[in-house]
């Protein structure tokens, strides 16, 4: 594998993305809106009291962290992988002396930097206005960083294997839309997972989606502690390993199956 070529590609992609910042700022704005709506709805509903043990300030803190985590783990490149396979541009990438995964990683990293340039100042301003309540310990911060890293890996590879289904199915991108909806419901966007009603809560804990966005936030705000924290990490690591294995298996079969037309 050619890692230096990969790094050069990452740098080049980042520079070209910064030329089109306003477009990506708009995308980032769009992703920020759903958690922002539920931030307002839940903090208004909590008022002076508590809901499910959370005060108004704690809801604000939960959702502000979620906005940043969601943008950091959202793998928008998964959408383009399917396009590359469908329209045959993948054949060019296959000729490069490195894995096409680098190409996706380059876009992914470039995107994260551009989105953070937008999301962090906005979240900081919102934090000044809305006065979140957050008590941090060093342990929570360390656990949060590990959970965040795993969440990114999981969301990236989970979306990637879904996108690779484009080798066999023409409209595999609708599965990504389904994934986004499940993340909205089960990954702590519509409500912190602890507040979901019966069946939804059980599904949220068992399925991989909570571990792509909501779980790191719960770790930082201290909602996931003790046994919850340990089982959470175990499930997160398990699902991440499963996603990577699915990616490897589908990639090997898919590339052999792949035939591009023209060129």
């Amino acid at each position: 594998m050619n890692h230096r070529g990969g790094l050069a590609l990452i740098e080049q992609t980042w520079l070209s993305w910064m030329q089109h910042r306003s477009f990506f700022f708009l995308l980032a704005f769009g992703w920020m809106v759903p958690p922002l709506i539920y931030l307002f709805v839940w903090s208004t509903a909590a008022g002076g009291g508590t809901i499910g043990g959370l005060t108004r300030g704690e809801f604000v803190a939960y959702y502000l962290v979620l906005i940043v985590v969601n943008q950091l783990t959202y793998a928008q490149t998964n959408w383009t992988v399917g396009d590359l396979i469908r329209d045959g541009r993948l054949s060019k990438l296959l000729l490069y002396p490195m894995s096409p995964l680098y190409n996706t990683l380059a876009t992914e990293l470039a995107g994260k930097v551009v989105y953070m340039i937008f999301a962090i100042p906005i979240t900081a301003i919102l934090a000044l206005v809305l006065r979140p309540e957050l008590h941090l310990s060093a342990g929570q911060v360390i656990a949060f960083i590990s959970a965040l890293g795993l969440a990114w890996l999981l969301r990236f590879f989970w979306g990637y294997w879904l996108a690779l289904l484009a080798f066999w199915i023409t409209r595999a991108d609708s599965l990504l839309a389904l994934q986004d909806a499940l993340i909205f419901l089960l990954a702590g966007q519509v409500a912190p997972v602890a507040l979901l009603p019966g069946v939804l809560k059980t599904a949220a804990i068992a399925l991989p989606f909570r571990y792509m966005a909501g779980f790191p936030v719960e770790v930082l705000t201290g909602q996931a502690a003790g046994v919850d924290l340990v089982t959470g990490f175990a499930l997160q690591i398990g699902w991440t390993a499963a996603a990577i294995m699915l990616y490897l298996a589908l990639w090997r079969r898919g590339v052999r199956h792949f035939t591009a037309i023209g060129g």
Binding site: F29, I37, V41, L130, V190, L200
Partner: protein, 264 residues
């Protein structure tokens, strides 16, 4: 009067022919509609699983707001957005210069730009929206009088007109800045109309009521349905939507005069 209607019929027919050429898109559309409907509904159910009422809004009346949001959104997807969206963006008519051909047609440009593309699949979304509204009415437990129904339909029409006016104004801005995706900004803000404006904090509530009045689009018809609407607000919202429509049309026409085609 007959000619515009005949034109609309022709536009609908060609749009249907274009859409039915792609079979798979039907299933994708169906999935997206159900996801939009399901996530919206579950959002309200989860919230009211924890509380009984917020800011004077019960489960039933919040459901009514969601119903109006889905209904108005369906009308938007039926023809307003498909038609206006072809103006904007990097591959839009104004950027590429193909807007020349739209200008040359012997009908009013604003009319043509607003009704030329239809997405009949949105009728399914409309059905889902009306379903939610019906569920909201049964939940509310109040008997629906004829007056409530009439004021509801009037405010719903005013809300739809307001939505059209805002979208037209945003599309008109394309003549000042051809590449910028104004409709994306609006998409984000419009999502906030899923919930009553009362649930948002002060400054944002003012923004959603007066600056980009998406709150008016959904909250007021829902209030009409629950019978909480005062006559002043009813007349005010009607006048407001008409004023907005006139303003947006003037902006669009002003923009048209700036259009200088694209070089090469």
């Amino acid at each position: 009067m007959l000619q515009p209607l005949r034109l609309i019929r022709i536009f609908i027919e060609t749009s249907v022919r274009n859409e039915t050429a792609y079979n798979a898109n039907f299933w994708v559309g169906l999935l997206n509609s159900l996801l939009n409907f399901g996530t919206g509904l579950l959002g309200v159910i989860v919230l009211f699983g924890q509380i009984d009422a917020v800011g004077g809004w019960s489960f039933g009346s919040t459901l009514a707001v969601l119903g109006v949001y889905l209904t108005v959104g369906a009308v938007r997807d039926l023809f307003i957005s498909p038609s206006l969206d072809s103006l904007t963006g990097m591959d839009g008519e104004v950027w590429v210069g193909t807007f020349d051909f739209t200008l040359l047609r012997p009908v009013d440009t604003q009319f043509l730009a607003s009704v030329r593309r239809w997405r009949l699949f949105a009728l399914f979304d409309l059905l889902l929206g009306l379903d939610v509204l019906a569920a909201a009415v049964t939940r509310l437990g109040t008997t629906l009088t004829a007056i409530h129904l009439i004021t509801f339909l009037v405010t719903l029409a005013a809300g739809t007109l307001t939505l059209y006016a805002i979208l037209l104004a945003f599309s008109g801005l394309v003549f000042w800045s051809p590449g910028f995706l104004f409709s994306w900004v609006f998409d984000g803000i419009f999502q906030m109309a899923r919930y009553p404006v009362r649930l948002y904090p002060g400054a944002l509530r003012l923004l959603l009521t007066w600056i980009i009045p998406v709150g008016v689009i959904t909250t007021i018809p829902a209030q009409a349905l629950t019978g909480e609407l005062s006559p002043v607000v009813l007349i005010g919202s009607l006048g407001f939507s008409i004023a907005l429509l006139v303003g947006a049309s003037l902006l669009f026409r002003g923009g048209l005069r700036r259009y200088a085609s694209a070089s090469s």
